[in-house]
């Protein structure tokens, strides 16, 4: 199960908290980690009746930006001897994640849940849906508010 993992990130430092756990979990086992960022489908930008930027161009730009970000994260894992690949997908987060899992050999999806309660955060919703829907194992690290005394 731990030979192949899918790790979902969204660029925030809080979501990156899963990376340290992955490092610990995978360090000894020659695992392979796939980093995934899911973004909304870009729409064509219009100025009046003229398209100013096409969806595909925007998607390409976003993809490059996300891949650059993931490269930085990948380096941290590679330093620990873990094989890493990176991917950007567009669409509804839970669908994209499940698709990515299906397309790969990944048996675990891992993410950090900021958990502000009430599912307002996209990562919270993703974690919730994966926990209840995903056919593969889900690893959730918490990055969440606690109750104050």
């Amino acid at each position: 199960m731990f030979e192949d993992l899918l790790v979902v990130l969204d660029g925030r430092a809080t979501s990156e908290r899963i990376v340290e756990w992955i490092r610990r979990l995978c360090r000894t086992s020659g695992s392979r980690v796939r980093l995934l960022v899911v973004r909304d489908v870009e729409g064509t930008v219009w100025s009046g009746a003229h398209p100013v930027a096409y969806a595909s161009q925007l998607e390409d730009a976003t993809r490059l930006e996300c891949l650059a970000y993931l490269e930085g994260v990948a380096a941290r894992l590679e330093n620990a001897g873990i094989r890493v690949s990176a991917e950007v997908r567009f669409g509804r987060p839970v669908d994209a994640v499940l698709e990515a899992a299906r397309d790969s050999e990944a048996r675990i999806v891992a993410l950090a849940e900021p958990g502000r309660g009430g599912l307002r955060d996209a990562m919270d919703r993703l974690a919730h849906e994966l926990l209840h829907r995903a056919p593969i194992a889900v690893l959730v690290a918490r990055a969440r508010d606690q109750r104050a005394a």
Binding site: A13, T14, E16, R17, E20, R116, A143, R144, D145, Q146, R147, A148, A149
Partner: protein
């Protein structure tokens, strides 16, 4: 190493409705730089001495001193607090806390367990941890190193076994 390995002070607690003036006094009383803001059992924010100072108007203000104090009594902690602070638990690996403070560029992390807030971590707390981790003396012997005013190589005079040291 975990967050719990750092000794942390329990921060003073304020309600969102507390006035900025009261907050300033509370912080001064506790000699603290930050206080946590709670609503019932929920942690809702952090208020810092810096935010309190920044709420004061400039020297160019058209308000009188009396008016300034009056206003500051009206402005609440809820108006100036940082909402949604980053939270870690005492069991969180220290490296994670370091990374959060450094990369998320927060000034403070709240340390909380299931019972509630147990402390705050600031960058200075982490520097103190670093102080403990680094060897107190160089492993090189106490040879004298001559510095130069420009980058260059300086030969060692101590018996450390190192040939050269390079300046940046």
């Amino acid at each position: 190493m975990r967050v719990a390995d750092c000794s942390l002070a329990v921060p003073p607690v304020l309600l969102p409705a507390a006035s900025v003036s009261a907050a300033g006094q509370l912080l001064a009383l506790h000699d603290a730089t930050h206080a946590v803001v709670v609503e019932g059992e929920r942690l809702v924010g952090i208020v810092s001495r810096r935010a309190i100072m920044a709420a004061h108007p400039s020297s160019a203000t058209s308000l009188t001193r009396g008016e300034i104090h009056g206003r500051l009594d009206q402005i609440t902690v809820g108006d100036i607090m940082l909402p949604d602070p980053l939270v870690v638990s005492p069991a969180t690996p220290l490296a994670e806390a370091v990374r959060l403070l450094r990369d998320a560029r927060a000034s403070v992390l709240v340390v909380s367990d299931r019972e509630g807030v147990v402390g705050l971590i600031t960058a200075n707390d982490l520097l103190r941890a670093l102080d403990q981790l680094v060897e107190p003396r160089e492993s090189a012997s106490a040879g004298t190193w001559r510095s130069t005013s420009e980058a260059g190589r300086v030969p060692a005079t101590g018996a450390s076994g190192l040939d050269r040291i390079e300046h940046r």
